[in-house]
């Protein structure tokens, strides 16, 4: 689905170095690492927000390395949700409709479906400021899903959530992944979240990928001393 090959990017004193890994079709891939390891920077580079210095990103056999974010069909959901504060929930969710050739009928159909799946019907006319953390996260996910991207990037989606909303949002992400068969990449600190949702993953440290593979392999057969200490052995 997506192949990242020898990707390098230097911003200030920090650099992503020789990032190489593949993510399969419909996969739920988890990116783990300590704070400041470059996880969000890598997500933003995949999304096209940062332009890499060298290397290649290929998605569905098409090179997207130099494409701007709006041409990549990659959705991004940040940990702070980044909802547009000046427009209501409905307008947030349908924001991308006009850029993706979605007609009015189809937009209404998708909005109704997502609102039902993510339990947003009663929130559509509210402004983001009047939403709880869990509600914001659901709206951000609905907004990304509305335009049916080929890949969704989740940047620590549970880190700002009250514990009582974590399971609820987790369950919804799992359902969305299962029903839409979209490929997901999620950044997380939490190994439980990673194991519950993910199939494969990677550990990143100081801009370098330490290990890529099935999560069970990473947790049970860590290949470097850093991964060993990071996953808690």
């Amino acid at each position: 689905m997506i192949n990242i090959h020898d990707l390098n990017l230097k911003v200030g004193n920090f650099a992503l170095k020789k990032i190489t890994f593949d993510i399969g079709e419909n996969e739920f891939f988890v990116l783990m690492g300590p704070t400041g390891a470059g996880k969000t920077m890598l997500l933003e580079t995949i999304a096209g927000i940062n332009t890499c210095d060298s290397g290649k990103i290929i998605m569905n056999n098409k090179e997207i390395t130099n494409l701007p974010p709006e041409k990549r069909s990659i959705g991004i959901v940040y940990q702070d949700c980044a909802l547009f504060p000046h427009i209501n929930v409905k307008k947030n969710i349908t924001y991308g409709v006009r850029y993706n050739g979605i007609n009015r009928e189809e937009s209404k159909r998708r909005l109704a479906l997502l609102s039902e799946d993510l339990n947003l019907e009663h929130l559509l006319n509210r402004l983001p400021v009047n939403l709880s953390g869990g509600e914001k996260q659901r709206v951000a996910l609905a907004r990304a899903m509305m335009v049916k991207p080929e890949l969704i990037l989740l940047d620590e989606p549970f880190s700002n959530l009250d514990p009582r909303f974590r399971d609820e949002v987790k369950e919804m992400i799992r359902n969305v992944h299962r029903t839409t068969q979209t490929t997901f990449v999620m950044v997380t600190h939490d190994f439980d979240d990673a194991r519950e949702l993910g199939e494969r993953g990677a550990i990143i440290r100081d801009g370098l990928i330490e290990q890529v593979g099935k999560l069970n392999d990473i947790f049970e057969n860590p290949k470097t001393s850093f991964v060993t200490s990071f996953v808690g052995f």
């Binding site: 933003e44 999304a47 096209g48 927000i49 701007p68 974010p69 709006e70 990549r72 990659i74 959705g75 991004i76 940040y78 702070d80 980044a82 547009f84 504060p85 000046h86 924001y95 991308g96 006009r98 850029y99 993706n100 951000a140 907004r143 990304a144 335009v147 991207p149």
Partner: protein
């Protein structure tokens, strides 16, 4: 902080002092002229013309600052580049240099002895002693206030909102107009008000570049010089009255709209 705290009384005393410094001369000014004198002054076409010219040129300067200052403020807020601090210092320059120096500097460039001034003259653009000259000066002194205000506004908007917008398919331009612009609207209004206010009150630079046509501050100065305080006060009162009314209306309309969003 309670009333027993010496700091409390210090803050109260300083507050009263500040208000007195601002209000005492203003109240004196506003109450100095009789109603009949004020009515007589407002019927004077020269007065009306100069107040109108002050307001009109100030708004023109603010509009031009808005058009060319907004994209520049966005660049300064979003990009890091070599020499950025130097550019920011240059933008602040018109605020710190004495106003007559601004006038002299502009005259030096647009005068017929300078190559730029001669090109302008050949093109039929007269800066000295013209509305163009007044607007040029007002842009020079007012634009830094606008740019700094809008830059702060842009900086307060998370770049993540723009990233998300682009990931949803919007181009940079579309993102700017659908996300960044509405969110920075309030700071733009504040910047425009500050720029206009600065422009309406400008005297030192305008008097050098364009004594005529006469803006209100120049007319007030001329009447003060020629006839004394009594003749300049009513014009000053009308200028304060028109500007205050205009700014109040603008603030109510524009900032209320923002609340409605």
């Amino acid at each position: 902080m309670t009333s027993k705290d010496p700091l409390f009384w210090t803050t109260i005393f300083c507050g009263i002092l500040v208000l007195a410094i601002i209000l005492f001369p203003l109240i004196q000014l506003l109450t100095a002229s009789s109603l009949s004198k004020l009515m007589e002054t407002i019927k004077d076409k020269t007065v009306i013309k100069s107040i109108w010219l002050s307001i009109y040129t100030a708004f023109l300067a603010a509009s031009i600052s808005f058009i060319i200052g907004t994209p520049f403020a966005y660049l300064l807020a979003r990009k890091e580049f070599m020499g950025k601090h130097l550019i920011e210092a240059i933008i602040d320059l018109p605020v710190v240099i004495p106003h007559p120096v601004v006038g002299i500097a502009i005259l030096g460039v647009v005068g017929r002895n300078h190559w730029f001034g001669s090109i302008l003259l050949e093109l039929g653009v007269r800066v000295m002693g013209s509305v163009t000259g007044i607007v040029t000066v007002l842009i020079f002194v007012g634009m830094p206030l606008y740019i700094n205000s809008v830059k702060d506004g842009f900086e307060s908007i998370s770049p993540r909102l723009e990233n998300v917008s682009r990931s949803l398919g919007a181009s940079m331009m579309s993102t700017f107009f659908r996300v960044t612009f509405p969110l920075a609207f309030r700071s733009m209004v504040v910047g425009l008000l500050m720029c206009t206010a600065r422009a309406v009150s400008e005297f030192g630079a305008v008097v050098i570049v364009a004594y005529h046509p006469m803006i209100a501050p120049v007319l007030i100065y001329e009447r003060f010089e020629a006839y004394g305080l009594e003749y300049s006060q009513p014009v000053a009162i009308w200028l304060v009255f028109f500007c205050l009314t205009l700014f109040l209306i603008l603030r109510i309309i524009t900032l209320k709209k923002k609340k409605d969003i």
